[in-house]
């Protein structure tokens, strides 16, 4: 097990390196640069700017320097947000995304899994029907529509919350609710379908015929196997949800990380693109490692090494 984890950490670092390299060169292949301006900056000023950010050096020199900086956890200065380093940018906005994201995640898991279990056990009954209709609505309604509807009801009609500027926890509920819609629906469907498969199996019949209570059979015996696809999905989901969503942040005025993902690419803000991508990638890779280790614990038949 320990050997497996070491090997995985090593390959994860390798993955990060490949991601950095790929993103670095792909990004530079995109036409336009961070200081391309429609108004046209005079050439001598442009030369000064490029010199200051050392963008005049050959690409491989810049690449080598960037790698060296990343090794020392220095993601460089932002080209667009003046006077800010990418480290500060992430440090400022990640806690916000983390707060909204973990609330959304808790909601998605806390509602999604029980809903999936109940609808699998009461298959075809009204509980199943209503849970699945809700789940279908959860994916069919685009999140910008959900967001707009929530703003209309809770902020405009009822006036319970203010929207548009960030005040911490009280303003985090609506974005979290919006963000949780899709994963909640997906998790409940996933739980339902794999639960349906598991409860047909012989060992479940054995457990029932031993005289165990339904609750014990479902939560101790069945859920353990049925939860596996959900756990697998949790890796990418958590990474995605914790790094924020562009649309939700735009509608609710949440100063999270998601906006940088989009705006930095449109702005060709090279260091911010790189920094945010590396951050996301590191999160994703480590969460997937965590997921694989958890899978091994939950189902000992899954042999990892």
């Amino acid at each position: 097990m320990r050997r497996y984890i070491f090997q995985r950490i090593w390959t994860s670092l390798l993955t990060l390196f490949v991601v950095i390299t790929l993103t670095f060169f792909m990004m530079r292949a995109i036409p336009g640069g961070p200081f391309t301006d429609e108004k046209g900056i005079p050439p001598h000023i442009m030369a000064k700017i490029l010199e200051r950010y050392r963008l005049n050096d050959p690409l491989h020199v810049q690449y080598g320097r960037y790698l060296w900086d990343v090794l020392r956890f220095d993601l460089g200065p932002s080209y667009r947000y003046e006077g800010m380093t990418v480290n500060e940018l992430i440090a400022n906005s990640f806690p916000v995304s983390l707060l909204v994201g973990s609330m959304a995640l808790a909601l998605a898991l806390g509602v999604g899994i029980p809903a999936g279990i109940v609808s699998a056990l009461r298959r075809g009954k009204w509980q199943d029907r209503s849970a699945m209709v809700l789940a279908t609505l959860g994916i069919t309604i685009p999140n910008f529509v959900i967001a707009t509807a929530l703003v209309y009801i809770f902020a405009y009609r009822l006036g319970w919350v203010t929207v548009g500027f960030w005040e911490g926890l009280p303003t985090a509920f609506l974005p979290a609710l919006t963000l949780s819609g899709y994963p909640m629906a997906f998790i409940s469907r996933l739980t339902r379908s794999s639960m349906l498969e598991v409860i047909q199996q012989d060992y479940i019949r054995t457990a029932y015929s031993k005289g165990l209570r339904e609750r014990t059979v479902v939560y101790i015996h069945a859920l353990r196997n049925a939860i596996i696809p959900v756990i697998t999905y949790l890796g990418p989901l958590t990474a995605g949800i914790l790094t924020g969503s562009f649309v939700v942040e735009q509608v609710f005025g949440v100063p999270g990380l998601g906006t940088f993902f989009v705006s930095s690419i449109s702005n060709r803000d090279y260091t911010t693109i790189m920094g945010v991508t590396i951050f996301y990638s590191a999160l994703l890779v480590s969460l997937n490692l965590l997921v694989d280790i958890c899978l091994g614990f939950i189902d000992p038949r899954i042999k990892l090494s």
Partner: protein, 313 residues
């Protein structure tokens, strides 16, 4: 003690065997007509009313998207400021938008784009995603580690970078969106199939298939993947709307289809600002998305039951 060689009979000795009688032969015959996996699945799908309804709606939406615009008096890009923002009427079934364009025709045209995106996404998920994840989970070990890190890498590079780069290479428009979907849209499917295959590959029925001499590909395609059909179809029915929304998002930031062409996502996006005044402009495109996705869900549920080998009768 008797000599032990008598315990094992000589199988070449013809006196030890006698031919099977006719009645005994018949007892081993199958009474049920032999049916392939897919024949059986189709037979079960046919009896599922909700799934058939889903299939019917999908076919209808396709037919409308392909043929509908021919039968309409309006075109998707003709502007008429005298009729801007009109509510639904017999003249304009879904009303008009802020430029006076007929919303019904625009929704029909949007269907072409959104359905194409959804179809491409599901095709990629079913081919690349399922096979990639299946091989990774089935072979395991080093290859699995390598293949999954490739998925991590692909998943890590922001979607927009692919799109912008592909736009530079193949030109703007739908082609670059399709290619982007092809590059990056099978990651979660591959992960889910992998974990299902890892769970199933040590079960007895796989051992049985192995003992019978089935090849690796046969075990993967005929035994492992059919047993993972539930999660696969759920992931699939969810990846179609996700792809449709991804296209909407890309168009929203200016990287998708360009005006006056519009997909369902773009139409809904455009209508949000004026939701309070002209609600039908959002209602109809959102309705189109919802009905189509609902139909895909019904069909997906029916397929799940029809393809599950354990429910075979």
């Amino acid at each position: 003690m008797a000599p032990t060689e008598n315990v094992r009979p000589d199988l070449n000795d013809p006196t030890l065997f006698e031919p099977v009688s006719e009645t005994e032969k018949r007892s081993a015959d199958y009474i049920r007509p032999s049916m392939s996996y897919w024949q059986d699945a189709w037979r079960r799908l046919r009896s599922d009313k909700l799934a058939l309804l889903g299939l019917l709606v999908i076919l209808l939406v396709f037919a409308l998207a392909l043929l509908g615009p021919w039968f309409s008096a309006w075109t998707y890009d003709a502007q008429n400021f005298m009729e801007a923002n009109e509510p639904p009427s017999w003249n304009h079934l879904f009303g008009t938008d802020m430029f006076g364009r007929d919303l019904f025709v625009r929704v029909l045209y949007g269907a072409r784009i959104s359905l194409a995106v959804g179809l491409v996404a599901s095709f990629i998920n079913l081919t690349i995603g399922v096979i990639y994840g299946g091989v990774s989970g089935f072979v395991g070990g080093r290859l699995d580690n390598f293949m999954m890190r490739v998925v991590d890498t692909i998943h890590s590079v922001p979607l927009m970078i692919y799109v912008i780069l592909l736009m530079v290479v193949v030109g703007p428009g739908l082609k670059s969106i399709f290619l982007t979907l092809g590059i990056s849209y099978w990651a979660s499917m591959a992960r889910i199939v992998r974990s299902e295959v890892m769970r199933l590959r040590n079960e007895e029925f796989i051992l049985a298939a192995r003992v019978l001499g089935a090849s690796g590909w046969r075990i993967l395609l005929r035994h492992l993947i059919p047993n993972a059909m539930g999660p696969i179809l759920v992931t699939l029915t969810f990846s179609i709307p996700q792809a449709i929304f991804a296209e909407a998002f890309l168009s929203f930031v200016g990287l998708g289809v360009s005006a006056p062409m519009a997909s369902w996502g773009v139409l809904s996006n455009d209508a949000i600002g004026t939701l309070g005044i002209y609600p039908w402009q959002l209602f109809f495109p959102a309705m189109a998305i919802s009905v189509t996705i609902l139909a895909f869900n019904f069909l997906g549920d029916g397929l799940r039951d029809a393809l599950d080998p354990r429910l075979r009768k």
